[in-house]
């Protein structure tokens, strides 16, 4: 058992347990905090893939931005944010059944499929390479999505302000 596998197992365990508690906890604050663990775990995975920039973005945007926002809103809403009512048993069962079926199906598919190749090289993507790819205009360059993304973010900002604004 290599060290990588051990780290991965540890991360996976933490993520799954945190995720499970996050979706079942009746306290939102707790759920949000647990979500943070999942997000960190994900960042860890990215690092393991040697996608360090992605991992960094994951931590800054998700952990630094989104979770903070969530916590902020949970605090803002106070009591209203408590999940008071219990879900009906039927829905619980249906949800579990569907999720489990889906999971089993997905795992079955993943294990039974032979992916095209296992060319993992453990090389970091350089910032220059990434920057060229994001800003380039040739094939496999993504200036247009990048710009669309920026517009989307702008729209979101404006929209969020507009929606949350007091009448």
């Amino acid at each position: 058992m290599s060290i990588n596998l051990i780290i991965f197992s540890g991360l996976a365990l933490v993520m799954v347990i945190a995720a499970l508690f996050a979706v079942t906890s009746s306290k939102i604050m707790r759920a949000t905090t647990l979500l943070l663990f999942v997000l960190f775990g994900t960042a860890g995975l990215y690092f393991m893939l040697h996608y360090s920039f992605l991992g960094a973005v994951q931590i800054t945007v998700y952990a630094g931005g989104i979770v903070v926002l969530l916590i902020f809103v949970v605090l803002l809403l106070g009591k209203g944010s408590v999940d008071v009512t219990q879900t009906s048993m039927r829905r619980y069962m249906a949800g579990t059944a569907t999720a489990l079926t889906g999971m089993v199906l997905a795992i079955y598919l993943i294990t039974s499929t032979d992916f095209a190749g296992d060319k993992f090289t453990a090389e970091d993507v350089t910032m220059k390479e990434l920057g060229m790819s994001l800003m380039g205009t040739e094939k496999y360059n993504y200036i247009l999505p990048f710009e669309v993304m920026s517009v989307l973010l702008l729209a979101c900002t404006v929209g969020a302000i507009l929606i949350a604004r007091k009448k």
Partner: protein, 641 residues
């Protein structure tokens, strides 16, 4: 003959004017318009008839039919079309005179009778409409035109019977009259359709080939047509509407339900007479038997009625039946060889129109005077109403068949014709004629003789038994007496008209000659009937009457209720048709036909309710469905590949 079109146009115009603008007119003006136009029509009709008869006979010494107008009104197919036109023939010329004269008299009479009535203008409008339709009926060039005007006559009769539309009895009577005759007309229509289909024409006189083509169907068609005629002419058992029709104003009864419309059936048979007598003699004889029975039945019922108009109504039924019998007993078109009945029937139609019109108008005058139809409110009126009394007496004598009044001559011809057919028929009709004399004089005595109801009332009033001062009967105004006198005069002299010269079964001149045996016999019988009536009723409540009333209690009661035919009619219409057919059908429609469709709708709705929870609006549920669906599809795909 071209002027003949105005005979139709004038009454129609007068109807339109009165119907559209009548409401704004003063009564006098409306009455004048109606009467004047009718007077003009009468003059034209007489002139036309005179011209027609003056034009003389053709080479075969027969009057020919003249058709001054005939247009294709509604083409049906290549061969058949409904025509409209004017046909002049001896009988239509005769009918023109009868209708216009009686109608004119009724118009004049109504000026007095209907004075001040609400709806006076409407009344005159309807009268004009009726006259128009009746004239159209008699001048019809073909059977379908006749049917068209037949219906119009029916509706004007309906409107006039229901003239007092606030009176429930009048409403019921008008409805009944229309529906019963309409029912009969259904057969008439089917008869016409059969006739038209097989002979290829609606004409009264189809060609020999057409008749041959129709073959055995022709008698059926003619029988069906006769049923239509029986409805209008109140033959048993379709007569039930006529007595009730007396709910209309009395002049209307005189015009429509005594003199003109009710003889339409007779006229119809006479119109089709050549076909009947040659191709369907058995139908003709059936008509004779139906007529004979009706005559007897009506006479019996007339003997016990207390409402004077009803007595007259039943006497009308009886007299029309006489005409039918006269037509029915014909065996050939030759008046000398068994075709006498045709002439006799038409003659009787003519004289009957006059004296029955007179009787009704007289009755109207009486009702006008005493404000009641019931015999109990009359009696002893001869002192108060001399003119009415005399004219009424003349009419009674005429209808009873006492020479020299017109009824004697025509009825005598009928009875001669009956004897020519068979002796039992002759004897039977003589008997009915005697009954006629009896019930008419019963009526006469009850009205004009006996103890005065007014006098009784006055006594009671003086004794303080009744509060209201009785209304004194008075003679009718001039507008009413003039028609009475005129018609009485006609009744006196009409018997001497050489009627056979104008109308006979084959169009040739026929000289009326009285068979002295029959004449004397029937006169004696009539006098016998009158004497019996005198004994029983002249002095009011005689002993014989009382005895008869006691002995014959049950039959009299049955006859008074017209042998319960009206109850049967009511039972059939109200109970059977309404409750046993119409109601169940309506129920069936709502609860079976409609319900089955509703059931389908409800089933669809149920189905909708079943799947409705799927569409709860809950996004989470949708997500579950969505994912489950996607998973299911994936599983299926996995299973397949």
């Amino acid at each position: 003959m071209e002027q003949s079109i105005f005979i139709l146009i004038l009454p129609l115009l007068s109807f339109l004017v009165l119907a559209l603008a009548g409401k704004k007119m003063p009564h006098k003006l409306a009455g004048t318009i109606g009467t004047l136009s009718l007077a003009a029509t009468a003059i034209l009709a007489c002139a036309t008839a005179a011209e027609y008869f003056a034009a003389g006979r053709n080479g075969a010494a027969q009057f020919t039919d003249i058709m001054p107008y005939n247009i294709a009104w509604l083409p049906l197919n290549d061969t058949l079309s409904i025509d409209m036109g004017i046909l002049l023939s001896p009988i239509s010329a005769m009918m023109l005179i009868v209708i216009t004269v009686i109608s004119l008299m009724v118009h004049i009479y109504s000026l007095g009778y209907m004075k001040g009535e609400r709806g006076f203008q409407r009344y005159y409008a309807f009268l004009s409409l009726f006259t128009f339709s009746m004239l159209g009926l008699v001048v019809a060039t073909n059977i379908f035109q006749m049917y068209i005007f037949w219906e119009l006559v029916g509706v004007s009769s309906y409107l006039l019977i229901g003239f007092y539309y606030t009176k429930p009895a009048a409403i019921a009577a008008s409805k009944k009259a229309f529906i019963v005759t309409r029912f009969a007309d259904l057969f008439f229509l089917i008869g016409i359709l059969i006739y038209g289909y097989y002979t290829g024409t609606f004409s009264f006189t189809p060609t020999e080939t057409a008749i041959a083509a129709a073959g055995t169907v022709l008698p059926t068609a003619l029988m069906l047509m006769f049923i239509g005629g029986a409805g209008k002419s109140a033959m048993f058992p379709l007569h039930i509407w006529l007595p009730d029709a007396m709910e209309g104003p009395t002049p209307v009864s005189a015009l429509i339900h005594a003199a003109t419309m009710v003889v339409a059936g007779v006229y119809l048979v006479a119109r089709m007479f050549p076909l009947f007598v040659v191709h369907a003699p058995e139908v003709l004889h059936a008509i004779a038997y139906i007529g004979a029975f009706t005559a007897l039945y009506a006479a019996v019922v007339a003997c016990v009625q207390t409402d004077i108009k009803r007595v007259l109504a039943f006497s009308t039924i009886s007299q029309i039946a006489f005409m039918m019998v006269a037509l029915g007993v014909c065996t050939s078109t030759d008046p000398h060889e068994g075709g006498l009945g045709y002439m006799a029937s038409m003659f009787h139609l003519f004289t009957h129109a006059m004296f029955k019109g007179l009787l009704f108008l007289g009755a109207g005058a009486i009702i006008h005077a005493v404000h009641s139809n019931e015999k109990n409110h009359m009696g002893g009126l001869r002192k108060y109403m001399p003119i009415t009394h005399i004219t009424f007496l003349i009419a009674c004598l005429a209808i009873a068949g006492i020479p020299p009044f017109s009824g004697f001559f025509s009825k005598d011809e009928i009875i001669t014709a009956c004897y020519g057919f068979s002796t039992p028929m002759g004897l039977f009709m003589s008997g009915v004629a005697a009954m006629t004399a009896f019930y008419m004089f019963r009526l006469y005595y009850l009205i004009f003789w006996g103890k005065s109801h007014y006098a009784e009332q006055v006594e009671l009033y003086k004794a303080g038994k009744i509060v209201e001062e009785p209304h004194k009967p008075h003679e009718a105004p001039a507008a009413m007496t003039i028609p009475l006198v005129f018609l009485a005069a006609v009744t006196c002299v009409a018997g001497f008209i050489p009627f056979g010269e104008f109308v006979s079964s084959n169009g040739e001149a026929y000289t009326i000659h009285l068979d002295s045996t029959i004449a004397i016999n029937s006169t004696l019988l009539a006098i016998g009937g009158i004497l019996l009536a005198t004994v029983m009723y002249a002095t009011g409540n005689s002993r014989i009457t009382r005895v008869v009333n006691v002995v014959m209690h049950e039959p009299i009661k049955a006859a008074y209720h017209r042998f319960y035919l009206d109850e049967v009619w009511l039972f059939i219409t109200k109970k059977v048709i309404f409750n046993c057919i119409s109601r169940p059908i309506a129920w069936f429609d709502r609860n079976v036909v409609d319900a089955s469709l509703d059931l389908m709708a409800r089933a669809a709705q149920r189905l909708g309710t079943l799947v409705r929870p799927l569409q709860s609006g809950n996004i989470q549920t949708y997500c579950i469905y969505f994912l489950s669906g996607a998973l299911a599809i994936m599983l299926v795909l996995l299973y397949i590949y």
